[in-house]
Subunit: 148 residues, 4 copies
């Protein structure tokens, strides 16, 4: 029905962030609301950025990341209580932006609940436009690519 | 950088939902958080479904819609106070699912702030699997296709 | 059971903000989640502040409001679709803070769904401490007291 | 300015829930939004209820808890990244409702960031009214009272 690659396995991801599902993440259908998955992706991305040393505007930097696009394929409902392991990796690095992909698994299992993709641009905040990704950042992001 | 079609115009959408941006929709970057756009899409979709007569599980129906995938391209930041006009249309209707596309505009203008796409499956809640879209629903959804 | 004054009537409030309930405001109990009422209060407060001319840190001011405490008594469940009319008034104005009270009604009716109270301090952002409320602001806030 | 008892210490709480602050919990002021504290309280309460065996409507029970009122005093701003330890205890148990109080601390420290109180009623869902708290539940709740 969708182009979701349900064969994604944990070993294809290079960065991990555990998310404890909050009761309030569920909607009136009784499972985690689709919009909340994007906050899980955001938490994983922010954590990876912090590991690299990207703190964005909060760190009073003049440059930083901004999300350009994001998509998510929902494979399985998640119900509280649960922990979701968000696997992430850098997919490709362009001049002014980079792609990431994600696999969301039930904690400690190979059960995939969602896959996702994002494009992040590197932005000069004052100029409000994308700029060349600094070489140092390019190298740091490269470490999270799946080299296999 | 992305495949966003920034030439989308208001006349390409067949259903509209105005969303008043809440102050709390903004994140620490000072603009509407990317995850909140998906709640705007959800509100538009739910409203369109209600107009058609789809009430899902809340209406104690045995069948209803479930979101399979959704994506969003962010074109322009939105800052409170603002009203966002979400334009939606049915893109295509398959056997057990249908595609929708969306254009988010600053209220009353042609300024596009985001475009989005979604796939919704038609689900038998008890069986927990997608089923054939009923003919009556197919016709109702068809009215929101862009026939031009 | 609580000290909620369920006799509050609409004419006791001096400022109004209509809130359109979003489908996503509901939790897995199938009604608007208790934490969301606080975003409704926030929206009403921000709107009143904007009417007065208080823009806070976003307006690059050195002083602004910060919430010190807030409480809410839940009287009746709210289910989507609904519009909630949030009535607010300034209760009392101290040296460095002011009290507000709120009544949340089903749109256009006298049906009270919740009452609430808040204390807002006037803060010097750099010094990170409360300061004397400026005379001009004191007068502006005074207009929203219930003089009856 | 408020009646916050800033002398609350960790040993006064009988149940603990660690909450990892999400980046998205912050608002445009750059710290955790006041409304989000109430989701932290909710998470602690739900966890305590689950420990006791209260699963509410989700467990297909005919009776369960419903929040009647909640208040929070904000003592110190919280900024991501952070973990908040929510301490809770049962304050008093009435015929059809019980009071709880909470202290939110920066993880592993005595730094109090907020205190809170709530009243929860015991509800018959079908009858939509509060009913007598069952003896077994009364005993279970009693274990979380601060006996000192």
């Amino acid at each position: 029905m969708t182009m979701t690659d349900q064969t994604m396995t944990r070993d294809q991801y290079t960065f991990w962030k555990e998310i404890e599902v909050r009761w309030g993440d569920m909607d009136s259908m009784g499972h985690v609301n689709n919009t909340v998955y994007f906050t899980y992706l955001e938490s994983a991305r922010v954590e990876m950025f912090r590991t690299i040393g990207i703190t964005g505007r909060q760190g009073n930097n003049s440059q930083g990341p901004t999300l350009v696009s994001v998509s998510c394929d929902f494979i399985q409902q998640v119900v509280f209580p649960a922990i979701v392991d968000v696997g992430a990796r850098v997919e490709s690095i362009g001049h002014r932006s980079f792609r990431m992909s994600y696999g969301l698994f039930l904690h400690g299992t190979d059960e995939l609940v969602a896959t996702a993709n994002s494009v992040t641009a590197w932005i000069d905040y004052a100029a409000e436009r994308s700029v060349e990704i600094p070489e140092e950042l390019r190298e740091a992001l490269g470490k999270y690519q799946n080299k296999k």
